[in-house]
């Protein structure tokens, strides 16, 4: 094999990785278009797009239809994209920096913190500020509490040298404590509150409306761009602390920066829709099967696949059952078999 051929082989592999991401992006666009046309109201595809065109051109004819397509389906679908991409990217980077395939954006206890915050708000009616509406109280409580476990981990990382395993273990310990408090609260809760908390923990996009979209959109976009800008350094961290240091990376600082960025974007997304699981853990792994683990390819691939996955899951969630299902349930139900199938089927070894 000559030199040129070797490099060509590498580039060929790289092109395939880019192709996977491109296909996912095309899939996202297609699924997005489709998602606007499905739901419980009898609107034909043509009607749906007519409504959208009418809204954009500013002559709304069908107020009811406009409300369904423009004000309900559109923000939900957009949010599915944001949420899927954010969680999958968070998972991919957490796995890489902690060098652990079981890590995900919730490894730092974000989900347990968020549900405690949500429970406090739903059951005890606690709020950060008395002027907040119920919805806003819930969102802000979930957001603030989701960051407490991360704070604990960061505190330990600053005062003591922490290894990835320690970070994961502290995260688990904090998670158990928060879950215990949440359970304690639930004992005293009314049936309605319980149902609400339960739904929140599974995660649902059904309640998303336009005002919920801008903040997660902006924060996630910025965070993902930042993480991508650091992807070359993050990639080196797979080689372990000693090698990374000798390649010029302050692993401790890098780990903390990534944890802060990932927890910010995850918290912002999750506090509006509840703790949607699965996609953050398995999304990156499915992407790994196709593009390998080099961060510069894995990150965009995870983002695109995560978005596609949650969008499709949400389409199914919207039409399944009598009133639709929570997207968290659907994503696990279709995602697990898909993941196990890929694990068994694919030849590429992405894990040890």
């Amino acid at each position: 094999m000559t030199f040129k051929e070797g490099k060509e082989e590498y580039y060929q592999g790289a092109r395939k990785k880019v192709l996977f991401t491109t296909l996912c992006v095309i899939g996202v666009v297609a699924a997005f278009m489709i998602s606007l046309t499905i739901g419980f109201y009898d609107l034909t595809v043509v009607e749906c797009y007519q409504i959208i065109i009418n809204h954009i051109t500013g002559n709304i004819e069908d107020v009811m239809g406009d409300d369904i397509v423009w004000n309900t389906r559109l923000p939900i679908s957009l949010y599915a994209i944001i949420c899927g991409a954010t969680l999958a990217v968070g998972g991919a980077i957490m796995q890489t920096i902690l060098r652990n395939p079981l890590a995900d954006p919730y490894t730092m206890g974000i989900s347990s913190g968020a549900s405690l915050g949500a429970s406090l708000s739903i059951i005890l009616g606690l709020s950060l500020w008395s002027g907040f509406s119920d919805d806003l109280s819930l969102v802000t409580m979930a957001f603030v509490f989701s960051l407490i476990p991360v704070g604990v981990i960061l505190f330990f990382s600053i005062v003591r040298k922490t290894t990835p395993s320690k970070i994961i273990l502290i995260g688990i310990a904090v998670m158990y404590m928060f879950s215990a408090i949440t359970s304690l609260l639930m004992v005293t809760a009314s049936e309605e509150s319980l149902a609400e908390i339960y739904a929140w923990n599974i995660g649902s996009l059904a309640t998303i409306t336009w005002p919920d979209v801008p903040l997660p959109l902006i924060v996630s976009t910025l965070c993902i761009i930042f993480l991508y800008s650091q992807s070359r350094s993050i990639n080196v961290m797979m080689s372990g602390e000693n090698t990374s240091r000798s390649l010029g990376i302050n692993t401790r600082r890098m780990t903390m920066i990534c944890m802060v960025v990932i927890s910010m974007m995850t918290a912002v997304v999750v506090c509006f829709c509840g703790t949607i699981g699965f996609v953050g853990l398995v999304g990156p792994h499915i992407a790994r099967v196709f593009v390998g683990s080099e961060t510069r390819y894995l990150l965009p691939a995870s983002a695109a696949f995560g978005a596609l996955f949650l969008l499709v899951a949400n389409c199914i969630a919207m039409v399944a059952g009598t009133f639709g299902l929570p997207v968290g349930v659907v994503s696990s139900l279709i995602g697990c078999p898909l993941f196990i199938f890929l694990l068994l089927k694919m030849r590429r070894k992405a894990w040890k």
Partner: protein, 279 residues
């Protein structure tokens, strides 16, 4: 590929280090000047890896200074240091499976940027060819043998293009041919490219054959330093390893023959029923 700036110097003065209260390194003082292959030898747990880690800032000495080309490493940033000092650990523990090319490419980090991929790949393939593992390029790092792993790790250190390369037992998993090949390549590279290669080794004979100089660690201190002939004496080996030996000179290099008074002249024969036979 002659280096324009050929000055290489490491000064270690009064270095002490301990992981806990009891010190591992006590008062290490050493000057290494000029490109060469330098081996560090000494018994298990004596602090060879620890010493190397103090040179490239993986650890910070509790006392004393390490200077590279006159600059104190404690005030050098990791980034700057990474351009000068490369490191190959004893064993790779990369978390996820990458291909060999991707694994080696990581070593280009200190010099690479968003646009340098093509150039970096050139260097990666060049290096893979140099140590004869070009055929492994697209293989998955995980599916390699222990010796092949070791060569890939070595390639990762080489593509870093450092002036000083620190190798922690780089040949421990290699067969005799490849041990010789890799060590010879390191020695030749040190002269061709003007780099200082510091290698920890447990194979005294390989180290003696190829090293320009050696240091021998014992009880947290440098017990002996100099050419292989100066360092590998019967007395030194007795003190440091507590092993009896004979040293013969072959092609101008010392060669150690290990002796075991408890065994050599006193071997009890196996009983007749114990045998092996090739069939």
């Amino acid at each position: 590929m002659e280096m324009s700036d050929n000055k290489i110097r490491i000064d270690i003065e009064g270095v002490e280090f301990g992981y806990s209260a009891n010190p591992v390194l006590k008062n290490i003082g050493l000057t290494v000047n000029g490109p060469q292959l330098l081996s560090i030898i000494g018994p298990n747990g004596v602090g060879k890896s620890t010493l190397i880690h103090c040179i490239n800032k993986i650890l910070s000495p509790t006392k004393g200074v390490v200077c590279i080309d006159g600059e104190d490493v404690s005030s050098t940033t990791l980034k700057e240091l990474a351009k000068k000092v490369g490191y190959v650990p004893y064993a790779a523990n990369d978390a996820f499976t990458l291909s060999v090319v991707e694994t080696v490419l990581i070593g280009r980090h200190p010099h690479s940027n968003w646009k340098s991929l093509d150039h970096d790949l050139d260097i990666v393939y060049e290096t893979l060819r140099l140590i004869n593992i070009e055929h492994l390029a697209m293989r998955s790092f995980d599916e390699l043998s222990a010796g092949q792993h070791q060569k890939v790790m070595l390639a990762r250190g080489l593509v870093q293009e450092p002036k000083i390369l620190l190798l922690d037992e780089p040949t421990s998993n290699l067969d005799i041919k490849h041990q010789m090949e890799v060590t010879r390549i390191m020695r030749n590279l040190s002269q061709e490219k003007g780099i200082l290669v510091i290698m920890i080794s447990h194979d005294l004979n390989i180290a003696a054959k190829y090293s320009d100089n050696m240091i021998m660690l014992y009880d947290g201190e440098i017990y002996a330093a100099g050419t292989p002939e100066e360092v590998l004496t019967v007395e030194n080996i007795k003190t440091v390893y507590d092993v009896e030996s004979e040293v013969v000179v072959s092609h101008g290099r010392p060669h150690i023959i290990m002796l075991d008074p408890e065994f050599d002249d006193d071997v009890s024969p196996l009983d007749e029923e114990t045998f092996i036979r090739k069939i």
